[in-house]
Amino acid sequence: MSELETSKVGVNGHECRVWRKGTGPSIGYLAGLAGLPKWPLFADALAKEHQVIAPSVPGFPGAEGHRELDTTLDWIVAMRELLNGADLEGPPLVGVSIGATLAAEVAAMWPHKVEKLVLVAPFGIYDEAEPTESPWAQQGQEFAGLFCNNADAYSDFIRRPNDADPVEWPIEMARAREASARLLWPMGDTRIARRLHRIICPTLIIWGADDRVIPRSYAKKFAEAISGPTELVEIANAGHLVDLDQPEALAEEVLRFLR
């Protein structure tokens, strides 16, 4: 497998990092609530068959500029510019959690520019009868256990490497939480339900069997609203951030769908 390559894309005057690894057909990967403080195992597994392109979304590690974005439309346009700059105008998109929300929004806005879509537990809908859990009304130590079945998977992912700045690293992690809140506060409803019918590409919808943030029943809500062919898969022993909890099992499903 090739080495991790880094480049930059400008969005609203802010530089966003783009990581690439692997050879083969390109796919885009949009990470979950923590963004990409590190290159994750899941992306490595995908890179066995693809060139994985992982752009940093504004506000998440590797990119600033979330404070330029006020409305959902601002976010969607910023994503278009980011994806175009990262050579992701067309290739399949794989999104997790908030990354899946953004991937779905882009696919709904420009249905012909996403070849295939993988949505892993996207936010975007809020059903009062089955409310989502708030990812922000939590105490610090509760996040890990709420997001992942294996709390260590999350804690390890956001833990500061020895060579990282002890002041800036925690601020970067907090910034990611702010960026997710900026788009999704207060309840994660981007009104995507009004647009989902515009998605026409084949879509794989994946949920962690133990997701404690978004009820598993939401998978069906997405599947029923999307116009393209959809497939639903549940991953055992996984919480909300399936890519951290079960990187291998998730990658297997995604690779199968993309073949």
Partner: protein
């Protein structure tokens, strides 16, 4: 303005006094009595000779029964004649459009003949982000924009349009306008210890108020930081630039003070401050600059292994610990006056705000506290800065003879 009848087991069996405090704990018939008691107490304080009386804004809160301080202030405007009405204040980002604040404050200023102090807090996370659903990542910008809009609405004589990032209004032209129009009512900003807020207050020439429940010992570091920043910015040391809040209990003897104020203080620190920490830190509420300063502080402390930081326990709930930590000052009038003079001098604070009713303190005790303070403590502090400094941040009401006097409320008088 606390709900005074929270159950004894509140801390153990309820998650939070704020945001999701349960409605079954609220008895509107009891609240009828509480509101009227509190308004009696505030009016009484004005009658006793306090310079001003304060109201504040909280939402979904078992210790703050004023979602709208403006309602209370408008009633106080009618029932008092000279005291300043310090509305401390309106959380600007929560009003849509924010010109509502410009209008209501102007109403209070008109009704009271120019006695309004306009307070503009950002608002706590619990009030703004959780109870009111505001986006924490946009709260401060919204607040600052709303401030600009309110100020312009007060000062601009012509109808104007406002095309802001968060507010678009084609026609802004508020009626009424404030009596204090030279250039606007005094503005006080309640804040935590953020450097940005200090700088902004200095730039705008507003009063900065540190409203902590944890008393003068815990407030020392914050106020020291504030004055260092003023110095750095080349501002004078006028103590009226700063406000500070302190809980006080006065009685004829020390023993009596201890007896009278123990239960209300323990009620407040035990039950009223029982806030679920889940609601304390919405992402984006704290600015990165403030976060950075905090982390750098920790990092440098660890690096130098310096353990000399002044430690004030912010978890005290027993009266002795509450007193030891300085949350509440109690004693005879002379003891309290001596202590408060020392506090005002050390924190260098001209606008001293007192909580004389707290927790489940009864109206009788609150009025006794108020009266003793007004008669015996207040005169000892009143002029402590006036030889040297002018309070430029105090209302300038209409002259006594120009102000309306409400008719006595009897049928005969009306006829």
């Amino acid at each position: 303005m606390p709900y005074t009848d929270l159950p004894e087991d509140f801390r153990d069996n309820h998650p939070s006094v704020w945001v999701d405090v349960h409605s079954s704990l609220f008895d509107p018939r009891k609240a009828h009595g509480m509101y009227n008691d509190f308004m009696d107490e505030l009016e009484y304080a004005a009658d006793c000779g306090f310079d001003g009386i304060c109201v504040n804004e909280h939402h979904s809160n078992g210790y703050g029964l004023m979602p709208s301080p403006n309602l209370i202030a408008s009633s106080l405007a009618r029932r008092t004649s000279d005291a300043a009405l310090c509305v401390m204040g309106n959380s600007l980002a929560l009003y849509n459009p924010p010109t509502r604040v410009a209008e209501e404050f102007a109403m209070i200023d008109c009704i009271s003949g120019g006695r309004l102090i306009a307070g503009f807090p950002v608002g706590t996370p619990m009030d703004t982000c959780y109870a009111y659903g505001q986006n924490p990542s946009m709260l401060r910008e919204r607040y600052l924009e709303a401030h600009d809009l309110v100020m312009k609405a007060w000062k601009e004589p012509e109808t104007f349009s406002f095309n802001g990032r968060y507010n678009q209004q084609r026609y802004v032209n508020i009626w009424p306008r404030p009596v204090q129009n030279d250039p606007h009512p005094p503005v006080w900003i309640p804040g935590g210890g953020s450097v940005e807020t200090w700088q902004w207050c200095a730039e705008m020439d507003y009063v900065y108020c540190y409203l902590s429940y944890y008393g003068y010992k815990a407030g020392m570091a914050t106020m020291k930081g504030f004055w260092e920043e003023m110095d750095r910015l080349g501002k004078d040391k006028n103590p009226y630039r700063a406000g500070f809040l302190q809980f006080v209990g006065v009685a004829e003897t020390e023993e009596e003070a201890y007896k009278l104020y123990k239960e209300p203080a323990e009620y407040f620190y035990g039950r009223c401050l029982h806030v679920d920490p889940r609601y304390a830190t919405p992402p984006g509420y704290t600015t990165e600059a403030t976060m950075r300063a905090g982390i750098q502080g920790q990092v440098s402390r660890v690096a130098s292994d310096n353990k000399t930081a002044l430690a004030v326990d912010k978890k005290a709930r027993e009266f002795d610990a509450i007193l030891d930590n300085g949350y509440v000052i109690i004693g005879t009038p002379d003891q309290v006056a001596d202590k408060l003079k020392e506090v005002a001098r050390e924190l260098h604070v001209g606008q001293l705000m007192l909580l004389l009713q707290y927790g489940n303190m009864s109206r009788d005790v609150a009025m006794y506290n108020t009266k003793l303070y007004a008669d015996h403590v207040l005169p000892q502090l009143k002029d402590m800065w006036d030889d040297e400094w002018e309070n430029r941040w105090w209302p300038k009401p209409m002259a006594q003879g120009q102000r309306s006097i409400p008719l006595p409320r009897t049928l005969e008088a009306a006829e």
